[in-house]
Amino acid sequence: MNRLRLVRRNNESWLVKVAVPIASILLAILVGWIFLAVSGYEAAETYRRMIQGAFGSPYAVSETIVKAIPLALTGLAVSIAFRMKLWNIGAEGQLYMGAFAAGGVVLLLGDWPSLPLLTLMLVAGFAAGAIWGLIPGALRAIWNVNETITTLLLNYVAIFWVSYLVFGPWKDPNAMGFPLAPRFPETAYLPAIPGSRVHVGILIAVVVAIILYMVLKYTRWGFEVRVAGESPEAARYAGMNVARNILLVMLVSGGIAGMTGMIEVSGITHRLQQDISANYGYTGIIIAWLARLNPFAILLVAFLFGALLVGGFGVQTFGIPYAIVLMLQGAVLFFLLAGEIMLKYRVTMSRED
């Protein structure tokens, strides 16, 4: 009798690393195809519209980029924590706190000139996110409190805090009862490419990716983070200050997520409101893993996810229920994650005697 067995790969070849994700996406498309066909929709047309919706025109591409920016930044934010095996799933809350701080700066100093105002908003966004990351970081470093739970719970605190502000103290009296904070003055808008919503955030994401890559690979601190992530025992043995590194990593991770919040309010919504984030903080986790924590791969994967989101909007107008779009997105994710196992193992046929 022949049996299929999974055998651990000794090393991951370059070819496999590229081939497996491509095969995964093709399989997802195939499954989606069958599903659409069985449901009575025109599969080819649906896919065509999805691709057109995401890439078919300059406007489509610009919208894809607009979605990719926060996804890339939150992906980068969590990736540095994951490097040290700190499970920061609080990027969502850190993003909201960053948005809150940026909104507060505008409220207080809205009459400042644009450049100092934007700079201060960015710094405040980073700082607020960093503090929101530092709280669970400190709990973990000092009392070994599980950061998975604390970061998750702090998300709700941050989201409801922003809701409270826009329903209450910061509510715009001219918004006809809608829960919105006052619209920012134009000096508080992130500069954008004229005629599109693509703003400077794209540059910020690229710069953050480059800095993270350099820091992790070429600095003493980045080295310590990688060692502590691979083996906390070895880090302790080498005399590294693990507690201090936990704090620093959570500070940077939360800070980047907080900056994302500032970028969204300043670049897209132009005011503090509810639903600033379409679950960017959580999707960023998936993106970081799919990119295997590589900063540049995160940029690429975030772009693909942006396309998936925007392409999904495209087919809705074609009369396909949004649930099917979500299903297709789910299939892509499922196959990509399932493909991970093929990176680590190979299938062999072994003969039983």
Binding site: M214, Y218, T219, R220, F223, R226, V227, E230, S231, E233, A234, R236, Y237, A238, G239, E352
Partner: protein
């Protein structure tokens, strides 16, 4: 009547990366027998038992259970064949009751007949002297009681071959007695018990038959009547009696490290080292001997700064270092080679270069501006690999691909390059083949010649005679004696390791 072995393992081989854990092992267990599998840590006992329990697959060899050749591909298949293993860490669900844990995973219909299960648990408890309330929650039970639940679980599944991995480490003396009583009852009713242990007193107290493993090989097996503790010690730790003489010093150099009244707790907070006193001198090798688990590990970890001592003092060249962090101790010239080479000493999954720089990445000369100077660090790694003869294909490959011997050479090289005044190493030759061990011996003797004060935890008595000037024997957390190796012999050290009172000197 010719007895048929209930377990018959022939020619079992098992490799782990860099280590041959089981080398051509033949192992037989008969029904109604308590069979002790004796050996030091890393001798291959647990590997062999795990193969029998279906957890590992042997690289070669055959297994017959009750005369039937079997491929034990999973613990489930092993259980079906009647083989159950109880690990040191129990596999119980804490917030479920005893009865629920017992039936968990066992065969049965869809409907849970809890009354029947409880009755069966009670019957088994009575039959084998395993007092435990079937309604109690696991989290409310002592470790001894939890162990009884594990045994009940195996009996409920109809095991007639029970493997227990170091079952007494978590028990109080009273519980040990009760466990042995149960095991004896099981043997009397025709079941076979395999007891994995490194404690000789237990073997003498309970076993019918003993198989001794050493460095992955069977070094002997016999009825307990034909053995005594001394013979067993020799089998466990000694191999040959010819040692190359080296020039042992007759006079001790100046004291470098002085330990006085040092007490150290273990991971569970119990005292593992009790008021230890010793001095380490320039240019000497002091061996720490003892049966594993008698405080050696905790002692050296406390010296290294990885474990905090509860009282006493550690002075390095007269300066108290007990409260100093690792980094400062290391800066003062104290270096430690941990037992866990890959995981603590070296970082798996990162490259040889990055492992080689683990000590000196902080030095200003290895930096260019804000960034690490990789060109310099690579050059350093090449010279390190070259000088200590580490066989590496590519210094950018992860260290996981190195053999045990090369890992140890890389680790030792990195640490010796710091020119330490004091070198403390735990089990520096464990798991190494003869050639690699020889390389480590040579490095140690060379370092001794340079005047470094060296403390080695050794498990092999041969190694003590091969390397050490003096030997401190630990038993039950205490240093029983510190002897000059020139003036002692294997039997005296062995006796001290077993807790005998100090002899001679």
């Amino acid at each position: 009547m010719k007895r048929v072995p209930v377990v018959q393992m022939d020619g079992i081989n098992k490799w782990f990366p860099g280590v041959k854990a089981n080398n051509n092992i033949n192992f037989r267990v008969y029904p109604g027998e308590i069979h002790a599998l004796l050996g030091e840590n890393g001798a291959g006992k647990s590997t062999l038992a795990s193969i029998l329990a279906g957890l590992y697959r042997p690289d070669s060899g055959t297994i017959k259970v009750k005369g039937q050749p079997l491929k034990l591909r999973s613990p489930r298949l092993a259980l079906q064949a009647g083989i159950g293993m109880i690990y040191q860490h129990f596999r119980l669900v804490n917030n479920m009751t005893v009865a629920e844990n017992v039936m968990l995973g066992a065969k049965g219909g869809i409907r849970i007949r809890s009354d029947r299960i409880e009755q069966r648990v009670r019957d088994l408890s009575e039959q084998f002297g395993l007092a435990v309330d079937p309604h109690a929650r696991i989290s409310h039970l002592s470790l001894g009681e939890q162990q009884r639940v594990e045994i009940l679980k195996m009996l409920y599944r109809g095991c007639d071959i029970l493997i227990m991995d170091e079952p007494t480490t978590v028990l109080t003396p009273q519980e040990v007695k009760e466990l042995f009583h149960t095991l004896r009852l099981m043997a009397d009713q025709g079941k076979a018990v395999v007891l994995i242990t490194h404690k000789l007193s237990e073997v003498m107290a309970i076993a019918d038959y003993v198989t001794v493993l050493r460095r992955g090989e069977v070094v002997g097996s016999d009825h307990i009547q034909n053995l005594d503790e001394q013979t067993l010690t020799r089998m466990m730790v000694a191999r040959e009696v010819i040692f190359p003489e080296f020039n042992r010093s007759h006079q001790l150099g100046p004291t470098v490290l002085a330990v006085s009244d040092l007490s150290v707790p273990n991971d569970r907070g119990r005292t593992a080292v009790r008021r230890a006193n010793l001095e380490l001198h320039e240019g000497e090798i002091l061996a720490i001997a003892g049966v594993a688990g008698n405080g050696q590990r905790e002692l050296v970890e406390a010296l290294a700064g990885l474990r905090s001592a509860s009282s006493g003092s550690i002075r390095l060249r007269g300066k108290e270092i007990r409260h100093l962090p690792i980094r400062e101790r290391s800066a003062m010239g104290l270096t430690f080679i941990p037992e866990d080479r890959l995981g603590m000493g070296l970082v798996p999954n990162i490259s040889v270069v990055e492992n080689a720089m683990l000590r000196n990445y902080r030095y200003p000369e290895n930096r260019r501006g804000l960034l690490l100077d990789y060109r310099k660090l690579e050059a350093y790694t090449r010279s390190l690999v070259d000088r200590y003869q580490v066989a590496v294909a590519n210094i950018h490959h992860p260290v996981n691909y190195l053999s045990g011997g090369n890992l140890q050479k890389l680790l030792l090289g990195r640490e010796l390059d710091l020119n330490p005044d004091v070198l403390v190493a735990a089990y520096p030759v464990r798991g190494l083949d003869v050639a690699a061990a020889q390389a480590v011996y040579d490095l140690m003797l060379e370092q001794r010649q340079k005047g470094t004060a060296i403390m080695l935890v050794l498990e092999d008595l041969d190694d003590i005679f091969r390397l050490a000037d003096r030997v401190a024997v630990m038993y039950n957390g205490e240093i029983k004696a510190i002897l000059n190796v020139r003036e002692t012999d294997i039997d005296s050290i062995g006796a001290l390791m077993l807790g005998a009172q100090r002899v001679g000197v």
